[in-house]
């Protein structure tokens, strides 16, 4: 049995996967909006941390949580735990001004693993990393 090619799987299934950008304060909100405004070919959903319960996601999904200075992970951790959702589908993006340890305090207290993180300064850095992460997510879900 041959391994399916990365390109074939992602090209076939990239529209079968949902991506959510979560941001609640500047500059993270602007970074998320810039990603949506400048990037075409895939649709994002936007959410505030306290509005996650309204999201309707398919089986394949990925979520970028953009954490700026002063943000916490309390709402997000609760959404993961109460819904029995997979924390490995969450990528935690720290803006360069953010103290990761402070931002992750609630996440850590909830006992959730910090599976994937990255530091960003602008939407291009988010775009590059999140694009690759979403492609890998689609590949893992559909190969």
């Amino acid at each position: 049995m041959t391994t399916p090619s990365f390109r074939d799987v992602v090209a076939k299934h990239h529209n079968d996967s949902d991506a959510v950008l979560v941001a609640s304060r500047e500059p993270c909100i602007s970074i998320a909006l810039d990603e949506d405004a400048n990037v075409h070919g895939r649709a994002f959903q936007h959410a505030n941390p306290d509005g996650l319960a309204e999201l309707e996601l398919r089986d394949s999904w990925i979520m970028a949580i953009l954490l700026c200075a002063g943000d916490t992970t309390e709402h997000i951790a609760r959404w993961i735990l109460e819904g029995g959702r997979d924390p490995r589908r969450v990528v935690l993006y720290f803006h360069t001004d953010t103290d990761p340890r402070a931002a992750l305090e609630a996440w850590h207290e909830a006992g959730l693993p910090v599976y994937s993180t990255w530091t960003i300064e602008d939407w291009r850095q988010l775009h590059k990393h999140f694009g690759a992460a979403w492609n890998v997510r689609v590949y893992d879900d559909f190969r």
Binding site: S5, F6, R7, H40, P100, V114, R143
Partner: protein, 120 residues
């Protein structure tokens, strides 16, 4: 400033393997090879792969690999002095295996170039 969301190119694994093998330093490849077995803390990677006092090359290699979806960076907050750890993604595993398939070919090409049999 329109930009398409990046779908992978055809032969994505081979192109990334070629990129890895074509780098002046083999650090990126060695990082990925080291992560094949199990995740590694940053400090352990540094101790295994870096000679000398500066770990900037390792930081840059991890950044390059992460941006291409080959490595993910996690955090273990139970290790407050060194929380970052790294693991190969499924794409990273596929690419390092492809790179190993290509290594003999790459070596042959390098030897041919050195012997003046190939341009570049």
């Amino acid at each position: 400033m329109d930009e398409l969301f990046p779908l992978p190119e055809p032969e994505h694994e081979m192109k990334l393997a070629h990129w890895l093998l074509g780098r002046e330093s083999d650090l990126d490849l060695r990082v990925l090879e080291t992560l094949l077995g199990e995740p590694q803390r940053y400090r352990d990677l540094r101790d295994m792969l870096i000679e000398g006092s500066s770990d900037t090359p390792l930081t840059r290699a991890l950044r390059r690999l992460g941006e291409r979806g080959l490595v993910r960076q996690g955090m273990n907050l139970d290790h407050p002095d060194d929380p970052r750890y790294y693991a190969a993604t499924s794409l990273g595993v596929a690419v390092v295996l492809k790179a190993h398939e290509m290594l003999p070919i790459q070596k042959t090409l390098d030897e041919a170039r050195r012997a003046g049999l190939l341009a570049g």
